[in-house]
Amino acid sequence: MNQSVRSTARLLTAGLRALLVLTLVCGVIYPLVVTGVAQAVFHDKANGSEIKENGKVVGSKLIGQSFTLDAKDKDGNPLPDPKWFQPRPSAAGENVFNTRYSIVVSGASNLASDSKILKDSVIARRAAVATFNGVPQRDVPVDALTASGSGLDPHISPDYADIQVSRVAKQHGLSRQAVQKLVDEHTDGRQFGFLGEPHLNVLALNVAVRDLATQQGRG
């Protein structure tokens, strides 16, 4: 009995020692090596692919932002700002634990494919997006109607960008062609022609729109 207790204890100590040594290897040395190389070789990417406008950071290329007005709708949600291209709906949550940070907690709606709530919100979004952009309801693409997986999707489909062109152009007094040209320039096709789907980065596109509008205002 005593013998087996002692040998169990010895085994557990060996397990603990192994864990501590391997924690040093996999939990300290490994991440430091990777961070060192990443920071040296891919400095910008390793730090979150920040986008700058006139030297000022306006966000990360990879993290979607909302482009809204201060005004709220009847449910208390901020209204979309008609001057800018709008991103996909988001089901991301709010930070409830460590509230000194205002981080967005990434996440999806997790609504089922036959969910009535999801169906109703799809119908409501379709009507809202069509009115907001002044296009027929049948032209509203699927990514404008569904929430993304991360809730931080920085991209929209070319179809969703296309139906927003007229509205954005009108708001800035720019020509439709000029804005459409920006959309085309910012459309990234499938990577290497076959990976993923064509998409546009909404933040980068809006920065380009603002630049163009400022230039025209000056000129």
Partner: protein
């Protein structure tokens, strides 16, 4: 479609070199200098052979130490450095998370970005991502040695297998992989949560962290626990189409290549190909079905929207999301780049079925191979019954003792899954967590609420870790029961695998005769696929009919 072809080509390219390299690593008698240093600090003799009880005791002792350490780390997070001001984690959630990461499951009832600081993520969770994967490989190799060796009870040395798996396989691959992910745009820094300017002039808080280094081992070790709540859908974890395909590749590469290691170690490469063929056939079948159902977009809400894009990212679209979700549920990974709860009814059912098969096509690192070999033993036994001969596999007799051990192995997981699901549905409070059953009104249909609970326990007991996220799993009931399901679902099967390995290694080989079942032929691979589908189908069919099938047909 091209993405699938590119993926298969890449896997085929590394199959032989990686498989042979793994065989060499685990057969080598030399120790590297850094390994010797590690053995000295553990106090283990890496050359001492272990019989199966000793091997098992080492596995359990090491894993138990892992659970205790990780539990403690979360409980005292508030007083530790590098915790970004996050508080300590509740006892039941700490237990759940510790069990989850040690059991290679990575079920997460927490959201990474709002509960875990640098220390817990990088020094605790990511470490278990490495070592739990190495433990899985070690156990698989011990079983292969059981087939390969004769008239000995020795299965190798656990500490040597563990350390070699890390030093010679996982860490070098992870370093290369992490750099590739950073090159795609995944972040890798220690800047904590920091402020960043916004387009409209305001500011936002953004998480920093050692994300790429954790992401790569999460896929490579078929773990699946995301740095962020959104897992591989989060742009910092999985920034573009290339990183996405690369991550799928990482998930599949070791489990598939291990079949080559198996073939090499038992001295007949074609035995490995038969296992590979079985795994590949099931994987391809699931990919095709998933693509079909997801593009077909069933479900009233998705039909209204005109596509199954709810819970999916624009840069991946439906195809790359379907491919990822099949690969993650047919292995023990459980990382997600789209949210399975919002898949079409049949798509969600396929995710469930993939896990229910026992994650053997190709399965988790190590666990996939030993799970498949157990099924092969059972298939051989069934074939033996049909022709009335004593079954044998790889020159080893499958006698009473062997088949009992194999049968116990395949009964554990269904017992855990169905038992805990039934308890959760039967008791009065746990169902409250399915915001989605109280529902019809709230999230989905009643069938979907049941699917959520079934999915949770299937995912836990099979050590997958993905979820139908509508279920609020952060309650005492679910944290405790899923935690238990994960530990029992991981370590009980290992007991039977190692016992089987020991019993096989003691046998002397049976010479091959004209009547021996040719287990390297396609006919056997077909028999194996049939056995897997029938056994799983019969076990889970009633439960599947109540959940995803009811939903898909509605």
């Amino acid at each position: 479609m091209l993405q699938v072809l590119a993926l298969v080509a890449a896997l085929a390219l590394v199959y032989r070199p990686l498989g042979d390299y793994l065989a060499a690593v685990y057969s080598s008698t030399r120790h590297l200098r850094v390994e010797k240093w590690i053995y000295r600090s553990i106090g283990a003799n890496p050359s001492a052979e272990m019989r199966w009880p000793a091997y098992l005791r080492s596995v359990l002792a090491f894993s138990m130490a892992g659970v205790l350490f990780l539990y403690l780390l979360q409980r005292i997070q508030d007083v530790l450095p590098l915790s970004l001001g996050f508080t300590s984690i509740s006892p039941h959630q700490s237990f759940n998370t510790a069990a989850s990461f040690v059991a290679n499951t990575n079920w997460q009832s927490y959201s990474g970005e709002q509960s875990m600081g640098h220390l817990v993520q990088t020094g605790g969770l990511a470490v278990q991502n490495f070592v739990s994967a190495a433990v899985g490989m070690a156990v698989a190799i011990a079983l292969v040695r059981g087939f390969a060796r004769t008239r000995t009870g020795d299965l190798g040395n656990f500490w040597a297998d563990l350390v070699r798996g890390l030093i010679r396989v996982l860490i070098p691959m992870a370093i290369i992989g992490a750099i590739v992910l950073v090159a795609c745009g995944a972040i890798q820094n220690f800047s904590g949560i920091h402020e960043l300017g916004q387009f409209n002039g305001g500011s936002q808080h953004i998480n920093g962290g050692a994300v790429a280094s954790q992401e790569v081992i999460k896929e490579l070790g078929t773990n699946g626990g995301g740095y962020f709540n959104a897992n591989s859908a989060h742009p910092f974890e999985n920034p573009n189409g290339l990183s996405n395909l690369f991550e799928i590749f990482l998930i599949l590469v070791i489990p598939f290549s291990l079949t080559r290691t198996f073939g090499t170690m038992v001295g007949n490469a074609r035995q490995g190909y038969a296992i590979l063929g079985t795994m590949g056939l099931i994987w391809i079948g699931f990919v095709s079905l998933m693509m079909w159902t997801e593009f077909h977009h069933g479900g009233a809400a998705l039909q209204e929207a005109g596509g199954a894009m709810e819970g999916k990212e624009t840069r991946f679209g439906i195809g790359a999301s379907a491919l990822f979700s099949v690969s993650t549920t047919l292995t023990s990974t459980g990382a997600v780049n789209s949210f399975h709860s919002s898949n079409t009814g049949f798509g969600g059912g396929l995710d469930l079925l993939g896990m229910m098969l026992g994650e053997i096509a190709p399965g988790g690192v190590g666990s996939g191979l030993y799970g498949m070999l157990i099924m092969a033993v059972i298939a051989v036994f069934i074939a033996g019954l049909m022709v009335g001969r004593t079954p044998e596999y790889l020159g080893k007799k499958i006698g009473t003792r062997e088949i009992k051990l194999a049968a116990c192995y395949i009964l554990i997981t269904p017992a855990l899954v169905l038992g805990f699901t039934a308890l959760s549905m039967g008791l009065s409070t746990p169902p409250d967590s399915m915001l989605n059953v109280a529902e019809n009104s709230v999230h989905g249909s009643g069938a979907h609420g049941f699917s959520e609970v079934l999915y949770a326990f299937t995912s836990g007991a099979n050590n997958n870790g993905s979820a139908f996220g509508g279920l609020n799993a952060n309650t005492q009931w679910y944290n405790t029961t899923i935690g238990l399901a994960m530990l029992l679902g991981r370590f009980l099967p290992m007991v039977f695998v190692l016992a089987l390995a020991g019993s096989l290694a003691e046998q002397q080989g049976v010479p091959k005769t004209a009547g021996t079942l040719r287990t390297e032929k396609p006919l056997f691979a077909g028999l194996l696929v049939g056995a897997i589908l029938i056994i799983t189908g019969l076990t889970y069919f009633p439960a599947l009919a109540l959940g995803p099938m009811a939903e898909g047909l509605a």
